[in-house]
Amino acid sequence: MAKYFDSSPSKIKYDDVPYEKKEELFQQVKSDIRFDDYLYGCYECGICVAACPSARFYDFSPRRIAQALAREDVELVFQQMNEDVWDCSQCFSCLRCPRGNNPGGLITIMREVSINNGLRTAKEALEGYSRIIYKIMSTGTQVSPDMLQPEAFPDWGPEVKQVSDNLDLWRRALPPETMHTTTTSWEVDEKTIVELYLIWSMTGVMDLIRNVDKNLHMILTDVMEERLEEAGYEAN
């Protein structure tokens, strides 16, 4: 199938692949069981863009996502799978679409296909999330005060260093119960962590993690092995 529109040749930051590969990725998106429920048709009313927080800050449009898929514009969909989909915050404000489309859900599918096919851009986009995933599996909560490090938040300015240097002190100064620790936010039941792991394992999230970060996957399975056994599950 010839490409629908000539894409602008400028600013290609992702690895180009043969057209057949792009077509294959597109077909994977299209054949996802959720696809037909997420995309009906678009009359370009723009309400998804109006509701989209990311569209205010990035060159990003949920409408363009829906439109590119509806038009089966294989080249553009490939470009979006490498760029646009990572600008979405997955807040699903776009669900207010009067046609019943779900652009955010389409992005979920596109992201999963990107990850499952090992696109470099997916790995890069998700790099920063490895420590969050590790934090969840080790403590049951996705953020902890000690993650507040200057190199992780360069956009927050020099004040971050002041806070992170004396984190323990700041933490103790807070009025609410903070368990006097900087490595976790609150206490999480072992059972919750085990259940979360089982859900991730059964729904394919662990496979996604392996595709993005092999080392992290290995660490997580190690960490969980003992916990699973204690809870009466076999490691696999």
Partner: protein, 362 residues
Amino acid sequence: MANDAVLIIGGGPAGLEAARGVAGLGARAILVERRNNLGGAPINERYAALTHGFRDAEEVMNEIIAEVTSEALIDVRLGYSVAAVAGSAGDFTVTLAKEGNGHSDVVNVGAIIVATGFQHFDPGRETQMYGYYEFDDVITLQDSERMLKDRNWVRPSNGESPKRVCFIQCVGSRDRHIGNEYCSKVCCGIASKQAIEIRQQVPDCRVFIFYIDMRMYGYWENEIYWPAQEKYKVQYVKGIVTEILKKGDKLLVRGEDTTMGRPVEVTMDVVVLSNGMEPSAGTKEMARVLGLKQNKYGFIEVPHDALNPTATSVPGIFVSGAAAGPRDLDDSVGTGGAAAMKAVSLARKLARGDLQLANASR
């Protein structure tokens, strides 16, 4: 002598409905049609399916024609045109001329309904950029209807089945240069209907519609527009094509994809120009013969398109259908019935000598 007979000029959907309406009210109708057949544009232009419901145009029109021709109160005069009119509301003397042989008839009626309709805009007339007369594979909506009706939708240049087809909307409408500033009202729905039919008849053909606004009012939205997109995967591209060029044996279409914000250059096997409506030659001629005011576009002027859509500048002469402006089938048939009611009631009031009531019912 005053009477309540009504002369109806034009045997298309509006005229047929007007005739049915007049007869239904118990008055005599004389239905004059210049051609030798009834049915108007759907029959003469060989339309495929009609909105709503996608029923076969010929089948639907034949049902209505059968009703009209079997009605004792309706006198159908095929092959006749109106040559002259004298008199006034309640008492018109009309000369009907038989086409070709010079024979003429004089009839006396109380009121007249003009239902002479529209003609399809000729896209070769002004918009040469689309090359309608230059390229065999650039066609009009009515050309496309004929191929759909024959179930033989092919590239006219070589008879092959097309792989990529696009429609260009608003050809001859909404254009100050051409002088037709109005929207022709039906082309969005008809193009979308045809796009569905093409997808049904040629399933491996991709269909695109380049548009300015899609005007799919009322049930056309859910009956045509949404199914075209959702079920038949017709691609709507917001942006109008500026020109069509030849590229090999294909047509190169140049425009802007305003949604994606970039220029577009794509090849097509067939381009369908969604040409709009203009007053038919018959409409212009009847306006002249009957002395009816026309608007700047040549359609017959009515006092108010919404509140009084069937009256004309001459008392006792009414208009229905697309003779009064771009109208879809719904509006044409609707105004056909409305004109019948107005015409008969006026003629009867005048026959009773009730001028006050007659003036009020104009």
